[in-house]
């Protein structure tokens, strides 16, 4: 039988996204793998977090309705050990595309290059000190714009 304190440790991000933001979470095995890698790295590098401390980060692929129709995106949602259960979670949405398959391709590329991305200076700081957020370079999701700028 699950105990109440266990449930409280997993803050209700699904309800927050669905009921408050009206974002719909989409199943994705690659997004799950990304989450597993990030959480494992945080736990391995953050020496001060105790075994039962609350560190909860999760990547989510989501869909939401805009004027033009559904858009699909990738976000990082999380609570750290500062507050166990608060008003709203930390949330950073990296990008949104009108094509779900395009989002899947970008996520695959991010997963393939995860070890490179996590070594970027901002991400090393985030994983070791929980300062900042996990950065995904724009080059992974804004190729056309970058070509235009170059």
């Amino acid at each position: 039988m699950r105990q109440n304190h266990t449930i409280r440790k997993v803050a209700p991000f699904k309800d927050f996204m669905k009921e408050v933001l009206r974002w719909h979470i989409m199943k994705s095995e690659e997004v799950k793998q990304l989450t597993r890698k990030l959480v494992a790295d945080i736990r391995a590098n953050h020496g001060q977090i105790q075994k039962d401390a609350f560190v909860y980060f999760r990547f989510v692929k989501y869909a939401r309705l805009k004027e033009i129709g559904f858009v699909y995106g990738l976000a990082l949602i999380g609570w750290n050990d500062v507050v166990k259960y608060s008003l709203m979670p930390n949330l950073v949405s990296y990008f949104e595309k009108s094509n779900s398959e395009e989002v899947d391709k970008i996520i695959s590329q991010i997963l393939a290059d995860y070890d490179y991305i996590k070594q970027l200076p901002a991400n090393e700081n985030f994983i070791k000190n929980l300062q900042g957020f996990f950065v995904i370079p724009k080059s992974y999701y804004r190729k056309n714009e970058l070509v235009k700028n170059n």
Partner: protein, 152 residues
């Protein structure tokens, strides 16, 4: 029938962020919501306002910056587990990041903590370059090439 949770305070906070009249008002709401979110009180000490203004000016000068890095200082009460009667004040410098204005997609983190406001202000002043360097790292990482591009 599954009970649908109702989050009145959360809904109120999110809607206040989405409905901000302009970016300046949205930034004020971000600071307010972030401070409520982490159960802290906003410090309005004039010395704090001065150092925050200085940090904001320095962040604005970073080239290629994208999004909003919003600093604020909070005060919270810390209670000790081994002595229920004793408590202390804790002052924290927070940074909030949002990629776009008037959004509820905000990521917040503690930059510095101290039990004394004077010490915190001194630490912010003495470590301003390090604080700005962390923001520069985020911008540099956002602008990093793809692994394959780098290898080429």
């Amino acid at each position: 029938m599954k009970r649908v949770p109702n989050y009145p305070n959360t809904r109120k906070a999110v809607s206040s962020l989405y409905q901000a009249e302009d970016t300046v008002k949205w930034i004020k709401k971000v600071i307010k919501v972030s401070s409520i979110n982490h159960r802290t009180k906003l410090s309005k000490d004039p010395r704090v306002i001065e150092v925050i203004r200085d940090l904001n000016e320095s962040v604005k000068k970073i080239s290629g910056i994208e999004g909003y890095f919003i600093f604020h200082v909070t005060v919270s009460i810390v209670k000790y587990l081994n002595d229920e009667n004793s408590q202390d004040l804790e002052y924290s410098l927070w940074c909030n990041y949002a990629r776009l204005p008037k959004t509820a997609s905000i990521f917040s983190w503690i930059v510095l903590v101290d039990n004394s406001l004077d010490n915190l202000i001194d630490t912010i002043k003495n470590n301003k370059n390090d604080i700005i360097r962390d923001i520069e790292d985020i911008i540099r990482s956002l602008n990093a090439p793809q692994k394959t591009e780098k290898e080429l």
